[in-house]
Amino acid sequence: MRWLELTVETDVEAVEAVSEVLGRVAAGTAVRPTRLIRDPSDELAVREDRTAPYEITAHIPDDPDADATVEATERALWHLQAFGLRPVGELRVRAVDDADWLERWKEGHAAQRIGRVVIVPSWLDETIGPDEVAVRMDPGMAFGTGLHPTTRGCLALLQRVGPMPPRVLDVGSGSGILALAALRLGAGQVDCLDTDAEAVRATRANAEANGLAGQVSVRQGTLPETASTTYPLILANLVAAVLVELAPRLAEHLEPGGTLIAGGVIAERAGEVMAALDASGLALDERLDDGEWVSLRLSRP
């Protein structure tokens, strides 16, 4: 089957009305803001530019009725204009081939090798070398697919630590990717923390999928101010502002002689993060730059 893709560009005020018109003939619509604004003071924040047009798309089956449906939609859109709603663009029509959407999104997701660690999507049958360790992981609703430089940087630094200790703390575990890699590299047990319920769920599910659920404990929340227990290795792939805030607590939870791997630091804020960690008594052993992202390996003397 083929589809006709109907697209209309319009002002923010007419998005609902245009969606309603397209929704009369299609099972739903997709809305794309054509311009996003990045916040210079927050490297993670993005918002829609409401003064820019929005693009609304719907699909109808390309069958003998399609022409009539397109015409009726054009008429309905014309009525919107007539009612004085903000500018509604021309209806653009394009034929698209049907696809197995459940499969197609997987294209472009390949196994990734970071040193000895291989991140393998569940649908791939990847050969793992004798010196390599595999973590099975599908991209999903928690950060940490192995595609981002911060994850890769932390995975690289993890392999510079030497033999994995029996106990590890992972602060902001996301998908659980760092925790699972640490276990595959020889750690005995990883305690994971994340403030996001979805990440907690994902860490558990991924631990289960890798047969490592027995060695992973997950809790929703943040790092307490005082440590009831300390760790020889802490993984903290967070973000600059949170690392600065948590610096004293990370130091508090680290055993003397222990290692902290800190990631998610945008290059321009690396100085600020290193200063905060230094002020908490941690010494920088290694800095790894990948594009605009920095990962750090530190130790507590």
């Binding site: 005020e13 309603e20 009369r24 619509t29 999903g140 950060f143 192995g146 981002h148």
Partner: protein, 141 residues
């Protein structure tokens, strides 16, 4: 984790009944997002709104992980319920299918204000009124 945003997009799909067919498949697929994970979560979260088309706002991160929030049903659906009509008019300038009061318009605008990206209730009311007119639903003075 350092969740740097790649893009944001929205889909409007039938509550509790989204599938990988368009619009969801192509919209998410082009960003390499795990479609099955989205569909399962969307249908779970919107199961109690069956019968409505519900917008979901999806945030795609640079590593192709994503999160999403669902919004109130489309204003069009709320208008149809308020006016007690099944379908919008195909000739909204000539054929009126029903009407809503200013008070109903304001209530819908308030429900939808956040989702509509409106800066004020008045702007939200204007947007909802535009949708109403385009459906052949009159707004009574």
């Amino acid at each position: 984790m350092a969740k740097k945003i790649r893009t944001v997009l929205k889909v409007q799909a039938p509550a509790g009944a989204a599938t990988a067919a368009p619009p969801v498949g192509p919209a998410l697929g082009q960003h390499g997002i795990n479609i099955m994970e989205f569909i399962k979560a969307f249908n779970e979260r919107t199961a109690n709104l069956r019968g409505y088309v519900v917008p979901a706002e999806i945030t795609v991160y640079e590593d192709r992980s994503f999160t999403f929030v669902t919004k109130a049903p489309l204003a069009a659906a709320l208008l149809k319920r308020a006016a007690g009509v099944e379908l919008g008019s195909s000739q909204p300038n000539r054929e009126k299918v029903g009407s809503v009061s200013q008070q109903q318009l304001r209530e819908i605008a308030e429900t939808k204000m956040q989702d509509l990206n409106a800066n004020s209730v008045e702007q939200a009311m204007r947007i909802v009124a535009g949708t109403a007119r385009s459906m052949g639903i009159e707004v009574r003075d």
